[in-house]
């Protein structure tokens, strides 16, 4: 955390609406903000991601409506919860019949329960801005020993210029439950707007939660997400993060594993073009024994885009028999694209199996020639090789309707077929 030089943060939030009731969470966040500054590249965690020019700007909190049909995923058959500029719009949302799922406003989340869950976890200036000034969001409960009948689609839309969207969500996967959440992020006429999202959750014992995040905002948007998940014993958590949008994206994902026999899987695919900057920072904190984690992120960067991957795995002293696997692979399609990849393993236990690997390369020239020598054009050969490279990450998205939606976008935006 930075020492305060002047109060840039308070200036940043000065025009935000003061909430009618100040909950403990808001109050604590507000108090913390008065001692904060925005990160500079001198802060290790933000070394490769420069936010200064974005946080100098002013953003407004404005409600708007949206044409939801444009963003509905065909055949997903989901509870569709719509957030426009960070405001939950119930009239645009569709909640299906489902005895396994109950959906509340975020302000209905029990503060004592929440404080207990996140006790000891770290915040940053963006998660605190969100928690202090959030304009809406949902608290979702997946009922004990039940499987959700439908996926839950959290549809986020930015509409208008210089807007900030501070939606905050919390998912409680009760003991033995199972559910899938699809979080999508879209934008329209959104020049200089800012998505500042907080998505948190608690996966209780024997519960299973899958999250597919698909962010396709326009390349004139700032997107910062803070995602925190706590796993209890014998739980399963899978999150796939697919990023093609925004001018600057920072996906911050922390998973704290607070029980034995858990499995955590995080996969990511990111595709950068033009001057996009896509940063994935992940942490898996293993506190107990006999857990496994698997992390695979792949990037394809073209033009002048920049990719950042920082994957930290912490294995605490008493967490024995942990198997943690991590891999980050990147392909650069142009001489001016770049990637900074940094695996960080902190292992304090002595009986663990951990591996990590990181590669940054170009398309295999021999493979290109092989395909071309069979009559395939250079453009098609590139497409085949890129699709093959990133395809195994997309295959982690097992929801067929969502996968079809992703494939469609990739074909439209990049001309890549799978």
């Amino acid at each position: 955390m930075e020492v305060v030089v002047d109060n840039k943060v308070l200036a940043f939030v000065a025009d935000f609406k003061k909430p009618e009731t100040i909950s403990d969470v808001r109050k604590q966040a507000m108090d913390a903000l008065s001692g904060m500054d925005f990160p500079t590249t001198r802060v290790e965690e933000w070394k490769y991601t420069r936010v200064a020019k974005y946080v100098k700007k002013k953003y407004k909190q404005v409600q708007a409506s949206a044409n939801v049909g444009e963003y509905t995923i065909a055949d997903l058959n989901a509870h569709q919860l719509v957030f426009v500029n960070g405001y939950y719009d119930e009239s645009l949302s569709t909640i299906l019949e489902d005895d396994a799922v109950s959906i509340h406003k975020i302000d209905d989340l029990n503060e004592e329960y929440y404080a207990d869950i996140v006790d000891g976890t770290s915040e940053n200036v963006f998660s605190l801005i969100n928690k202090a000034y959030q304009t809406g969001g949902v608290f979702i409960q997946i009922k004990k020993n039940k499987k959700a009948n439908h996926p839950i689609h959290l549809m986020h839309i930015l509409d208008g210029e210089e807007v900030i969207a501070n939606a905050r969500h919390f998912i409680q996967s009760e003991t033995g439950s199972k559910a899938e959440v699809v979080a999508t992020y879209h934008s329209k006429n959104s020049e200089n707007s800012f998505t500042n999202i907080v998505l948190e959750g608690h996966i209780e014992a024997n519960a299973s939660l899958t999250i597919n995040k698909f962010q396709t905002e326009a390349k004139n948007v700032l997107h910062i997400s803070n995602e925190l998940f706590i796993q209890d014993e014998s739980s399963n958590f899978l999150i796939n993060t697919i990023t093609t949008g925004a001018l600057l994206t920072r996906n911050g994902l922390d998973v704290i594993v607070e029980g034995e026999n858990c499995h955590t899987e995080m996969n990511g695919a990111y595709l950068g073009t033009e001057k996009q900057h896509i940063d994935n920072h992940t942490i898996i904190d293993q506190l107990y024994s006999h857990c496994t984690s698997s992390e695979a992120y792949k990037g394809v960067m073209d033009d002048k885009s920049v990719g950042v991957f920082n994957g930290k795995v912490i294995v605490r002293q008493d967490a024995q028999k942990i198997a943690a696997y991590q891999s980050n692979k990147n392909i650069l399609l142009s001489k001016t694209a770049s990637v900074n990849s940094k695996p960080e393993l902190e292992i304090y236990a002595d009986d663990v199996r951990c591996s990590h690997g990181s590669t940054i390369g170009e398309l295999d020239e021999e493979a290109m020639f092989y395909l071309q020598s069979r009559g395939i054009s250079a453009a098609s050969a590139r497409q085949l090789l890129i699709a093959a490279f990133i395809g195994d990450i997309l295959d982690k998205v097992q929801n067929e309707a969502l996968r079809a939606n992703i494939d469609k976008l990739f074909l439209e935006d990049f001309g890549w077929k799978f």
Partner: protein, 251 residues
């Protein structure tokens, strides 16, 4: 079909490999090009198919009226040229059958022919697979990934059968093959021979030529063809090595 005149080529760092090579291949013919290591055999295959890293410094290559050296690698293939690689490349995530479908459709588009229907394509896969005893399982997998050496070479001939080139260059296709695989590959190639196509076999050893009978055998040495004969020349080379030719020329 193929007329190579005074072809000169260097690798990118400057060393000249081909130093004035002449070769005439007609439809229906099988030519074997033999020669010691470093004589320029694989460079010839690379230059003809347009691999990066080589510079043509002189001469010409005419392929049925087309200036071959002027074309991108994919267009050379579309004109009917095929290379069976000495070291077939593994391409994880790209299925053998899918990439061939892409290739065949692009070739057909270039030739202004209709796309192949899925049914006709699959029928062709079956026939070509049977030709080199390549199972459906292998043809559907990622290109060459986890294939044995013999399977990779059979896969090359499988692709040749699918693409039906006018001229196929087989670069050391016999290397690394056991006797059974050699027989399968050779029989496959023989069945693909017609009066309208031609084959150039690049090889170190005579043993492939016991299975695929060449019409001409050329000896490549130091970037030039220094002797041409019939199938019997290969036997003579096997017996006596290459040095006697150089001595013969010196006299």
């Amino acid at each position: 079909m193929l007329t190579i005149k005074n072809l000169q080529a260097s690798v990118e760092d400057g060393a000249e490999i081909l130093k004035g090579l002449n070769l005439e291949v007609k439809a229906g013919e099988v030519h074997a090009i033999m020669g010691p290591n470093g004589s320029g055999k694989s460079t010839l295959a690379s230059v003809l198919t347009g691999r990066n890293g080589y510079e043509v410094t002189g001469g010409s290559v005419d392929f049925d009226g087309v200036d071959l050296l002027d074309l991108d690698p994919e267009d050379r293939a579309k004109e009917g040229l095929f290379l069976a690689f000495q070291y077939p490349v593994e391409i994880p995530g790209v299925s053998n059958v899918n990439f061939l479908r892409t290739a065949m459709n692009e070739i057909r588009e270039y030739r202004k022919e209709d796309r192949l229907s899925a049914k006709d394509f699959l029928a062709k896969v079956k026939v070509a697979g049977n030709l080199v005893e390549l199972s459906d399982k292998l043809s559907g997998r990622s290109v060459n990934v986890d294939f044995s050496g013999g399977e990779k070479k059979r896969n090359e001939i499988f692709q040749m059968a699918m693409l039906e080139p006018k001229l196929a260059i087989l670069d050391e296709t016999d290397s690394g093959l056991d006797i059974d695989a050699l027989r399968i590959v050779s029989e496959g190639v023989n069945k693909l021979r017609t009066k309208d196509n031609a084959i150039i076999l690049i090889t170190h050893y005579q043993r492939l030529l016991e299975y695929i009978k060449p019409d001409f055998v050329h000896v490549l040495s130091d970037g030039k063809i220094i002797k041409t004969g019939g199938a019997e020349l290969a036997l003579e080379l096997e017996e006596k090595g290459y040095d006697w030719i150089n001595e013969e020329i010196a006299q």
